[in-house]
């Protein structure tokens, strides 16, 4: 009787002396995901990056409201004492809150109206992560669907998708994004899904999604082109599986690794894209902050408070580096040819 090594623990002795007799006692067959996890655990940089990403997410979504409560003012509140001699105050300044009390600006003020740089940095992380993760998710979904359809069906569908991706790839991406953000943004900024997102996040997600699906589509297409010729697809077809079932149950699991690796790298790219758009003035509307906006505002202070450029720049560096390193680690971990 054959044994399904993917699912059965083979520690129990088999007829004929079993593994123990052959010095293979305690050896387990591992699923591909278990093998990947073992490989990933050995990649310290990837693990540190993952931890850093989780830390950033916690900082943005849990830490920011806590910090707001501790300092006693919000990220958009105007602190009258935050500006001295028409310059934002520096880090660790205890200043007048304009209501008769004192308040602490941990990283100083971010602008000439005295808003708290530290809180804006934390809340800015929220925007950057939301835009990065959501745009990547939607972009990947679109890319995977179109790529699978093109690769699986071939013919006219493939031609249509391929030409479409080529056309979109030929666009001057940044210029087009700026134009789209400037025109669409005004109309879509008010969509917040009941306050779940900041005004402007949805439009950023939308425009970035529109231009981040074609690379995954091409990668997925080429993989499916090769996978569809494999025996297991032929077998599935022979037992009467529908095309949809083949794509969902047989092809998609083979693409998960690619999607995860590409996704992590794309998140970093999209976070940078959001920052670029915000830096160019077509990002989030006032008063909410994003890292790109903070950078944009900081440029005017580069000779007075150079730290204001450093903080958002550092956050962007840490997050994008973390996603990139995690992506690298995942690619190595999910590579079936890699040794355990």
């Amino acid at each position: 009787m054959s044994v399904d090594v993917r699912t059965t623990t083979v520690a129990e002795p088999l007829a004929g002396g079993g593994y123990e007799a052959e010095g293979l006692s305690g050896v387990e067959a591992r699923s591909p995901s278990q093998q990947a996890w073992r490989r990933l655990k050995r990649d310290r940089l990837a693990i540190v990056s993952g931890v850093m990403i989780i830390f950033m997410i916690l900082l943005a979504f849990v830490g920011a409201p806590i910090a707001e409560r501790i300092v006693g003012h919000g990220p958009n509140d105007i602190i009258s004492g935050g500006v001295e001699n028409y310059e934002p105050v520096g880090p660790w300044s205890e200043v007048s809150d304009g209501k008769g009390g004192q308040t602490m600006l941990v990283l100083g003020a971010s602008d000439l109206v005295g808003r708290d740089e530290f809180l804006r940095l934390l809340y800015g992380a929220r925007v950057s992560l939301e835009v990065g993760i959501l745009a990547t998710t939607f972009g990947l979904m679109l890319g995977v669907i179109t790529g699978m359809l093109a690769g699986y069906y071939g013919g006219a569908t493939d031609t249509l998708v391929s030409r479409l991706t080529e056309i979109i790839m030929a666009f001057p991406l940044l210029l087009f994004l700026i134009a789209l953000s400037a025109t669409l943004g005004d109309r879509l900024n008010d969509i917040t899904f009941g306050g779940l997102l900041y005004p402007g996040v949805f439009s950023l997600v939308l425009v970035i999604t529109l231009f981040s699906w074609f690379y995954p589509a091409r990668i997925i297409r080429s993989q499916v082109l090769s996978l569809r010729e494999k025996e297991f697809v032929e077998a599935a077809r022979m037992v009467g599986s529908s095309n949809f079932r083949i794509m969902r149950s047989h092809l998609l699991p083979h693409l998960v690794g690619t999607i995860i690796v590409y996704g992590t790298v794309t998140i970093a790219i999209n976070i940078l894209l959001e920052s670029t758009l915000s830096f160019l003035g077509v990002g989030l509307p006032e008063p909410n902050a994003s890292w790109g906006k903070l950078l944009d505002q900081a440029v005017q202070f580069y000779t007075i408070q150079p730290w204001l450029i450093v903080w958002p720049g550092l956050m962007l560096l840490i997050v994008t580096l973390s996603f990139n390193l995690l992506g690298d680690g995942l690619r190595d971990a999910l590579d079936p040819r890699a040794s355990l």
Binding site: L112, V113, Q300
Partner: protein, 568 residues
């Protein structure tokens, strides 16, 4: 904030000696709460070399170099050095720079007893264009007809001249056709009006009335290098890139022209780059490219008492500007005048000014700049250095309007506009008005706000005086008789028949009676219907490289380019 692109200053003779509030030549203006780094800029002429090239950069590009169309502050500054006008302002600082004197004309015009005919005498050959052509009465006749010509699409011609000059509305600009109200008789230029216009001399002192050669084309896109009869002429213009001014070899006037060439080497420089280059001497002069956040430091180093030593290089000069929030009376949010008054009480003008940087203006609630004679008759009504939220809340209650209200604020997308909008947003929240900020490129913002039906409630706006007369603010910005479907500048869409009549009547007046009447209209507007929440008067900020001398901070057009010299 960028203002009406390009409106610039001029002045009636009446302005001289009026209440200047110590603005001109104000080396001591640093006592102002928001700064003001001194503005004299008229040191004794230092040792300098003849010739040389002055390098200038602009952050905000230019609109046109064609006198019929140019309307940016920067282009009026250029035209001041390249143009000859019937009457002009002298190359002098402060009040003296706002006194009208006859330039191409032999004297100020003779005005008929009924006030409807103006006669200028233009001695032929007193001035010559760089092309060699003499400036004559015909040069001005053609210049004004070109402004009025509908094919030229000059804002000035349509708004400031056509409603007053006889036959202007019938003028089609056909070859050989003339406006019946603009006649030439020998060396006389005779202008007939349909109704009295107390501001005509001032209007004809703006660069729109520059002399032009007879072969200057009528072109709504603007002529790139019109001939000049001033100390300099425009030798070359590459749109979006550079402008070259050269000395007019045929200039016969007495205005100075020291540098051989004035080059605008960059027209869209990044302000950070521009400030750095001017500081290091790679650029000789910038004005709109100074980073507001660096005003304080630059003033400390290069201002009147600069720590860097040497002559003053950084200048902050009060300008005839009013920055205001136009409250759209045609929409529900601000249809009630008590709500508009509440906004005026709720805003802290000093805080709103802060993002514009050191020396960027002085809080005001007035509708007229302090340089205007009429401003002396205008009352202060609202708080300037604080807000009165209780009073504002009380007015909101009296209005009977249900709060919270939502108000859409249009502003520009360059600093300090977004920061300023954030301050306004926070201040109006306190009285139950939730402000939604919409940012646009400044040009787009301005155009949108001028369209009827545009869905905004507050416009963050400003207006620089074309000339020193209240007509330019009150009638041009608030008379509701003509609000076009598009391209308007009555951003509050204010249209009150009783005020319209008062404005029209006031423009018939002259002298102190005119000033008093306009001052009263401005006070009544602010107190009653309150279509604006005025917030600040403005300043010009200029920064020179280390080698530039001979600066004259001309009272009407900012620093005169023709007087700039290179220190030896």
């Amino acid at each position: 904030m960028k203002r009406r692109p390009g409106l610039w200053l001029a002045l009636t003779a009446l302005v001289a000696g009026a209440s200047m509030l110590g603005l001109a030549g104000c080396g001591s203006s640093s006592s102002s709460s928001s700064g003001g780094g001194g503005s004299g800029g008229s040191e004794a002429i230092p040792a300098h070399q003849d010739g040389g090239t002055v390098k200038i950069a602009l952050a905000g590009n230019i609109d046109y170099l064609d006198p019929a169309l140019a309307y940016y502050q920067s282009t009026w500054q250029i035209e001041y050095s390249t143009c000859v006008k019937l009457t002009n302002y002298k190359d002098e600082a402060g009040d003296q720079g706002r006194v009208i004197y006859p330039e191409a004309a032999s004297s100020l015009p003779e005005i008929s007893a009924d006030g409807l005919t103006y006669t200028y005498t233009v001695p032929p050959g007193k001035f010559k264009f760089n092309t060699g052509e003499a400036v004559t009465a015909e040069s001005f006749q053609y210049a004004l007809e070109r402004d009025i010509n509908p094919k030229q699409q000059s804002y000035f011609g349509a708004v400031f001249l056509a409603p007053f000059i006889e036959g202007a509305s019938d003028f089609k600009g056909k070859p050989g056709e003339h406006v019946s109200g603009i006649q030439v008789d020998g060396d006389k230029l005779i202008i007939h009006l349909t109704k009295k216009d107390g501001g005509l001399i001032s209007k004809l002192t703006t660069p729109f009335a520059c002399a032009v050669t007879k072969d200057t084309a009528v072109d709504p896109k603007g002529v790139h290098t019109p001939a000049g009869a001033g100390p300099y002429y425009i030798a070359d213009y590459t749109p979006n890139r550079s402008i070259v001014l050269k000395k007019n070899p045929n200039y016969t006037g007495d205005r100075p022209a020291y540098a051989a060439e004035i080059d605008y080497t960059q027209l869209t420089i990044d302000p950070n780059q521009g400030t750095l280059e001017a500081k290091n001497g790679q650029l000789d002069y910038i004005n709109d490219a100074v980073v507001p956040a660096q005003n304080f430091q630059l003033n400390k180093e290069f201002g009147p008492d600069g720590t860097a030593g040497g002559p003053q290089r950084f200048f902050i000069t009060p300008a005839a500007v009013i920055s205001y929030l136009a409250l759209n009376t045609s929409r529900d949010t601000f249809s009630n005048e008590k709500v508009r008054q509440a906004v005026n009480w709720a805003i802290n003008r000093k805080d709103i000014l802060q993002p514009s940087g050191y020396g960027a203006g002085i809080p005001t609630d007035k509708y007229l700049p302090p340089q205007f004679p009429s401003a002396g008759f205008e009352e202060t009504i609202y708080p300037l250095d604080s807000s009165d939220v209780d009073k504002a809340k009380q007015l909101m209650q009296e209005s009977g309007v249900q709060t919270p209200l939502t108000a859409v604020l249009y502003t520009c997308n360059q600093q300090p506009c977004p920061d300023r909008a954030a301050v306004i947003q926070q201040e109006l929240k306190a009285i139950g008005i939730n402000v939604q900020i919409k940012e646009f490129d400044r040009g787009v913002q301005f155009t949108k706000e001028g369209n009827k039906g545009e869905p905004f409630d507050i416009a963050d706006e400003g207006w620089i005086a074309d000339y020193y007369d209240a007509y330019d603010f009150i009638n041009i910005l608030l008379n509701g008789e003509i609000i076009p479907e598009t391209g308007g500048n009555n951003f509050s869409f204010f249209n009150d028949p009783s005020f319209n009549k008062r404005m029209d009547d006031a423009n018939q007046l002259t002298g102190e009676e005119r000033d008093k009447t306009y001052g009263q209209i401005a006070t009544d507007l602010a107190k009653g219907p309150a279509p604006w929440a005025s917030r600040a008067t403005g300043t010009n900020i200029d920064f020179f490289g280390p080698k530039i001398g001979c600066q004259v901070n001309q009272g009407s057009y900012g620093f005169a380019l023709n007087t700039l010299c290179i220190r030896s």
